[in-house]
């Protein structure tokens, strides 16, 4: 199950988690983001409790998007102990994304 993360709770969520936090930066007008959504859902389902998954709408959360310099979406960021452990820009096949996340579990 993928929750929403926002400017107001972003720091708290990524800092307090003891497992990697995966954030999918997206927007409703972005075609590739729509394709990536179900792929992330599937990965989240398969990894269970080993990582936490969130979506961040860049239109509604400009502060976080600009802090992490999001220049292209979709962007997936993997956070560990509050800092960026990996960044994937653009759509990727499911196995490629899952592999990158698993490296941090």
């Amino acid at each position: 199950m993928i929750g929403e993360i926002k400017d107001i709770n972003f720091s708290e969520i990524i800092e307090s988690s003891n497992v990697p936090v995966v954030v999918d930066f997206w927007a409703p007008w972005c075609g590739p983001c729509k394709m990536l959504g179900p792929v992330i859902d599937e990965i989240a389902g398969e990894l269970g409790e080993k990582a936490k998954f969130f979506k961040l709408n860049v239109d509604e959360n400009p502060e976080t998007s600009s802090r992490y310099k999001i220049a292209s979406i979709p962007t997936i960021m993997v956070f560990k102990n509050g800092s960026i452990a990996d960044t994937l820009v653009g759509f990727r096949p499911k196995d490629a994304i899952k592999g990158v996340i698993e490296n941090h579990i």
Binding site: K69, S72, G90, P93, K94
Partner: protein
């Protein structure tokens, strides 16, 4: 029965058509994306002496024969341009603007014509460099954007970006009248040399001048195969395939010039056939 195609063939040159007829012979649901001319390279060939069975044929005549062949087999070509192909896991999503076609396997037969990337273009991809202005424009609200346009369609995207960005530089890579609407668009008739920056794009260096910019969009006719299919493995500008014409993505095959040299009709047609037959085996293995 769902509405997914069994095989989507991307390209209507010799490789794509050979894949299509073999997929059809094996009774698969196929869709072929391509152009009315089938292949610009074929129709331009003055004379072909190395296509077995057709000594001295012209390219135009060869195209007619290809057309007759697919017509006789009831194969229609869908005249739409695929923008991106997404590997969704057990199927592929083929995007044409807002529309998505779905297929279990894909055969890439796109030929090879894409222009070489600029220096810095690949390095800063996703860090200020993008290929879809309409996708990422809202991220550049109030910022400076440079658009390097290789065709007329790029002007439309430039007009759209100019509604959001503070300032847009348009660098046309072709001659003509430019249909640009707003006053914050500046046409720069100069040759781009390099995209520079540190961890993000900061400027574009041209032959005569430099432009300080937050983002660069490079808008071309055709994109490199790994841009078309995110995650696809490309080696030395060609799609990496094994002897079954299988790429690194399962269910995705490639054939013809896009897989490497020599760039020849018979090689392309042969590879298209191998790709189609292996796509068929792959489909059968899913059942």
């Amino acid at each position: 029965m769902d509405n997914k195609y069994d095989i989507a063939v991307v390209g209507s040159g010799p490789a794509g058509l050979s894949a299509a007829i073999n997929g059809k012979i094996r009774n698969k649901r196929i869709i072929v994306f391509g152009s009315k001319e089938l292949s610009n390279k074929v129709i331009k060939a003055p004379k072909v002496d190395n296509y077995l069975g057709f000594y001295g044929i012209t390219g135009a005549e060869m195209k007619k024969q290809f057309k007759k062949h697919i017509d006789a087999m009831g194969i229609k070509i869908t005249y739409e341009r695929i923008n991106a192909i997404y590997a969704m896991g057990d199927y592929y999503g083929l995007a044409v603007n807002e529309k998505i076609y779905e297929a279990r396997t894909v055969i890439l037969a796109t030929g090879i014509e894409y222009t070489k990337p600029l220096r810095g273009e690949e390095e800063f991809l996703g860090k200020g460099v993008g290929y879809c202005a309409t996708c990422d424009a809202p991220l550049y609200k109030g910022k400076i954007v440079t658009i390097i346009g290789y065709n007329k369609e790029a002007e439309e995207e430039t007009n759209y970006v100019s509604e959001l960005a503070e300032k847009v530089y348009y660098v046309p890579m072709y001659r003509g009248a430019y249909d640009l609407k707003r006053g914050n668009i500046e046409v720069v008739s100069d040759r781009p040399i390099e995209i520079q920056g540190k961890d993000r794009v900061t400027k574009v260096v041209l032959k005569e001048r430099e432009i300080i910019t937050d983002g660069v969009f490079v808008l071309k006719d055709s994109v490199a195969p790994n841009q078309l299919v995110p995650g696809l493995l490309v080696e030395n500008d060609h799609i990496k395939v094994d002897l079954n014409m299988q790429t690194n993505l399962s269910g995705c095959f490639a054939a013809g010039d896009c897989t490497g040299k020599p760039y020849q009709y018979m090689r392309a047609a042969g590879q298209g056939q191998v790709a189609a037959l292996n796509a068929v085996s792959y489909l059968d293995s899913l059942k």
